[in-house]
């Protein structure tokens, strides 16, 4: 009996020591990021059966486990994902808005100044200074548009760089998680949870979730499988698949993200990669940034077409018929890199005032042509080409294969290329006749300021609508960023409420285990005294 008393005392000492060690671990790791507080689990040892009943035989430490509530952790992870998505979108839109607002100080006054100089020209059409001023203001307008487009192009390159960084981060995290999966699976064979490895993996998962939203599937061997998007596997057990950026089927400046297995990369539709910074940047690039270029280009095409038509209706200072004032590159129709057929599409602007601020995806399914307007996702179907959509006439040469697709854009080439085609003031068609005092044509050009030349809006109206659109996106994104950030922080607090270390609580645990240790020590001393007493009897 005394021997079992010693064993009971020893078990108590051991348990208290483990408790103290665990508490000490918690205290020293209070500032370790991602650390989940640990607690020792005690259980009464298997009792001994004696004739007089079951006698307890001390305490066993069953396990040291993390106080981790998986549900809270998952919620916090998803919220962090959403917050990163909103933050990436909002910050990027902040840059775009600064760009557009500073362009507002260039494009909008340039439009007003151009029409004002047309007005001044109509009052003194024989004045060569007035003619030169008209051309200078036309040049300023064209430069305002192309400079803004250049800045948008630079922003696009920067965003693509950020997307590449995000992809690299995802790959790094995925590889690390896979390695940890292997370690945890090996360590879990013993039956005890490898707490620190589990903490590390959770931290990596949260980091990964901030790049792209993930779904996690815990496995029976302790590893976690991770998938992204609509179920594409990223980490399976101890192996990780890499993400890679590949060129889009149409354009080189909008690369898409794909999963790589072996040498083959399967592109993921950008709309599937929601959540996280990667999702936010992709959504920003393909929606807001494209909308900015489309709106700018549409303004360029419609304004140039209206002014050119009016100038051609008049005669210049030498009596010859007026020519185009602005020159704008023709619409492009780029075939997909996956096209099998030998067809080439062409596009011309037939009605610039009906042009929409959008690109178009034109595809052939074997029996009909389908035209998808990128800005709002609406579709039209035609059995043959040529067909006209939104003032753009699309025609085909050659034979397409079913599944061939083309990207038609009138807006992008215009935004990049608008320039003044006239070189001398004398070439401006200020009058309807060659008489030196006839300024009626210049007056008609000036009147275009109030004409609905851009899909039902005036030129200034179209520009201000673009500013408002980008502004509204930025505003919304700002609100989303604040809302998701606050939700993420409150869910993270909720997780920490269960899993975080509270120093005061650990202080209490210290005193508790210390006293238990002292008590067990006293028990051992008593057991020793009893043993001494028995030995005395035997002498």
């Amino acid at each position: 009996m005394s021997t079992s008393l010693t064993e009971i005392a020893l078990s108590g000492l051991r348990a208290s020591q483990i408790g103290l060690a665990t508490t000490g671990n918690n205290i020293t790791n209070v500032n370790t990021p991602g650390y989940t507080r640990q607690e020792a689990l005690f259980a009464a040892a298997v009792p001994q059966f004696t004739g007089g009943g079951y006698l307890g035989s001390g305490v066993n430490v069953q396990s040291v486990r993390r106080v981790y509530v998986a549900q809270l952790g998952a919620q916090a992870m998803n919220a962090a994902s959403d917050a990163a998505f909103a933050a990436a979108g909002s910050d990027a839109l902040g840059r775009l808005n600064t760009l557009v607002s500073s362009a507002d100080n260039g494009v909008s006054p340039a439009i007003s100044a151009f029409f004002a100089s047309a007005d001044a020209l109509s009052a003194s059409p024989a004045d060569s200074a007035a003619r030169q001023a008209f051309l200078s203001d036309a040049g300023a307008l064209a430069h305002g548009i192309t400079d803004t487009q250049d800045l948008i192009g630079q922003e696009r390159s920067a965003v693509n760089g950020d997307i590449q960084s995000a992809v690299d981060a995802v790959n790094q995290d995925a590889r690390a998680i896979a390695k940890l999966n292997a370690s945890i699976a090996a360590a879990s064979v013993s039956g005890q949870p490898p707490n620190d490895l589990l903490d590390q993996r959770d931290t990596l998962l949260t980091q990964l979730a901030q790049q792209v939203r993930v779904q996690t599937f815990p496995q029976s061997d302790g590893s976690i499988n991770v998938s992204i998007g609509t179920g594409q596997a990223l980490v399976t057990g101890a192996s990780a698949f890499a993400l890679k950026m590949v060129p889009d089927e149409f354009r080189s400046d909008a690369p898409v993200v794909g999963t790589q297995s072996g040498n083959f990369v399967t592109p993921l539709p950008s709309g599937d990669l929601i959540g996280g910074a990667l999702g936010g940047l992709l959504s920003y690039r393909d929606q807001a940034l494209s909308a900015a270029t489309a709106g700018l280009g549409r303004l360029a095409v419609a304004l140039a077409a209206a002014v050119n038509a009016q100038n051609r209706a008049g005669v210049d200072a030498s009596g010859a018929a007026g020519q185009d004032v602005f020159s704008v590159d023709a619409p492009t129709a780029v075939p997909s890199s996956g096209n099998a057929g030998g067809a080439a599409l062409g596009a011309t602007v037939t009605d610039a005032s009906a042009l929409a601020a959008s690109d178009y995806q034109v595809s052939w399914d074997g029996s009909a042509w389908s035209v998808l307007r990128s800005s709002d996702g609406s579709r039209q179907s035609f059995s043959t080409l040529p067909a006209t959509v939104d003032g753009l006439q699309i025609s085909v040469q050659g034979t397409p294969s079913p599944g061939d697709a083309f990207l038609v854009s009138a807006t992008r080439p215009a935004a990049q290329s608008i320039s003044v085609a006239l070189t001398r003031g004398a070439q401006v068609a200020a009058g309807r006749t060659a008489a030196s005092g006839d300024g009626n044509n210049a007056a008609a050009i000036a009147a275009l300021a109030g004409a609905n030349a851009v899909q039902g809006s005036t030129p200034i109206g179209a520009w201000s609508a673009l500013v408002a659109d980008i502004g509204a996106r930025g505003h919304e994104a700002g609100l989303a960023k604040t809302a998701t950030a606050s939700l993420a922080s409150s869910l993270s607090s909720a997780r920490d409420a269960a899993a975080g270390v509270n120093l005061d609580e650990e202080a209490m645990n210290l005193t508790r285990y210390q006293q238990a240790f002292q008590a067990s020590g006293k028990l051992a001393a008593v057991a020793g005294t009893l043993f001494d007493a028995i030995l005395q009897i035997a002498r």
Binding site: V30, N31, R37, L93, G94, N97, T98, V100, S101, D104, S108, P109, I111, S112, A113, A116, D119, A120, S122, A123, S124, A126, D127, G431, T433, A435, S436, G437, D438, G439, A443, A446, A449, I460, W463, S464, V467, A468, D469, I470, G471, A472, R473, G474, H475, G478, S493, D496, A497, A498, A499, G500, V501, N502, L503, D504, E505, A507, M508, L510
Partner: protein
């Protein structure tokens, strides 16, 4: 509910950072004077600001146009005023030339004064503006509209109306056509004109005609043909198709031909086959009328027939110059009316410009009073957060007690 130690510190820090960001934002508003830095801060206001700026720019352009119109119309009105005075002078001279006691020499003097007035009028209608463009030439304003030549003054400008947009929806015509100003003067005596055929061999002449019976005027052209055979001179009156109206009329040195309500006197010695025409008045040039009057007064008057011819001629000249005078008066009053309209429009434009400026300021500029008080408020909030965080360090934990 449990809270971890880290959460306490994190919450405090997050609050301070947040307050700092808000404070910095208000500080930027104060220093730039703008309520929103990019359109994302207030998309609606940004769009409104673009639209208002453009409207204001257009309004400013209209004001510039009004100034241009003002200058052109003022100069025009001044020139037209001088023109009116000159025509009045011409009429006065013509009236004085009808005095029966004047000699040929007196009338010649008057003719010379009329010539001087002619030169003045020619100079006035060929006036140029500050840029060197001719005022009364229509669109062809690079060269003088009235060109003097051996056969009189010809108008070489066009009928272009120069319009300037002075208000949205109001294009003002700022010029007068020289053709309308100096033309449209009925030739002859106001009712009909007489002329001698170019190939007449004799020395007879026909006067301006007059005393027409307005109700009998039929608007047709008639010819008087003289037949001289032996010592007898007769004349036939034929209509335009060659049909004779009256034949064999006797002519003894002078005759008053009367046909279809038109009466004209012929005197002198016609040759056989000489023709004279009586035609309804057609719109002609005031310069031609003036030239006719000068020629009339430079010719000596002979006898009663000559006297009659002079009277008729002076009457014709008076009616023609009165028509030209009226044209000038009308043009001057048109210019004056447009100038008055410009004043009214100008007031509206100025008021509108001020309204746009104030609306733009409302939309775009920061309200300094509100922003300053918000700045002070946020400063206080920041200080409070910082103090609360500071307390965390000074308060005791359980470790101090065990």
């Amino acid at each position: 509910m449990r809270i971890s130690t880290n959460s306490i510190y994190e919450a405090g820090a997050a609050s301070i950072v947040q307050q700092q960001a808000e404070l910095a934002k208000v500080g930027q508003q104060l220093s730039t004077g703008q309520r929103f830095l990019t359109a994302a801060d207030d998309p609606e206001a940004a769009a409104k600001a673009v639209a208002l700026s453009a409207a204001k720019a257009q309004n400013d352009q209209l004001a510039a146009n009004q100034a241009t119109a003002q200058n052109a119309l003022s100069q025009s009105e001044t020139v037209l005023g001088s023109l009116v005075n000159t025509w009045q002078n011409v009429r006065d001279l013509l009236t004085s030339a009808g005095n029966a006691s004047l000699t040929d020499q007196d009338r010649k003097n008057i003719a010379q004064q009329l010539s001087a007035n002619r030169a003045t009028i020619l100079g006035l209608v060929n006036t140029r503006d500050a840029s060197g463009n001719y005022l009364f030439a229509g669109y062809a304003d690079a060269s003088a509209p009235f060109v003097d030549g051996p056969s009189g003054v010809a108008y070489v400008g066009d009928a272009g109306a120069k319009g300037i947009r002075v208000a949205s929806g109001r294009t003002m015509t700022i010029n007068e056509s020289g053709a309308d100003l100096m033309g449209g003067v009925p030739s002859g005596n106001g009712a009909f004109a007489t002329s001698a055929a170019a190939g007449n061999a004799g020395s007879a002449s026909i006067d301006a005609g007059g005393g027409a019976n307005a109700t009998a005027l039929d608007g047709k052209t008639y010819q008087v043909v003289f037949h001289v055979s032996g010592g007898t001179t007769t004349y036939d009156v034929m209509d335009a198709s060659g049909t004779a109206v009256s034949t064999g009329n006797a002519y003894t040195g002078s005759a008053d031909v009367s046909v279809a309500g038109m009466v004209a006197g012929i005197r002198g010695a016609p040759a056989d086959g000489d023709r004279f025409t009586l035609a309804p008045s057609s719109p002609g040039s005031a310069f031609d009328a003036l030239d006719q009057a000068i020629k009339l007064l430079s010719t000596p008057v002979a006898g009663a027939a000559g006297r009659a011819a002079l009277t008729r001629g002076l009457a014709a000249a008076t009616s023609q110059t009165t028509a030209a005078f009226n044209h000038a008066v009308d043009a001057q009053s048109r210019a004056g009316a447009l100038l008055a309209e410009l004043d009214t429009i100008g007031q509206t434009t100025t008021a509108l410009g001020q309204q746009y400026a104030s609306q733009l300021s409302q939309v775009r500029d920061v309200d300094y009073a509100a922003a300053s008080s918000e700045f002070a408020q946020r400063q206080v909030a920041l200080q409070a957060s910082e103090q609360a965080y500071g307390k965390l360090f000074t308060s005791k934990t359980l470790f101090d007690f065990i």
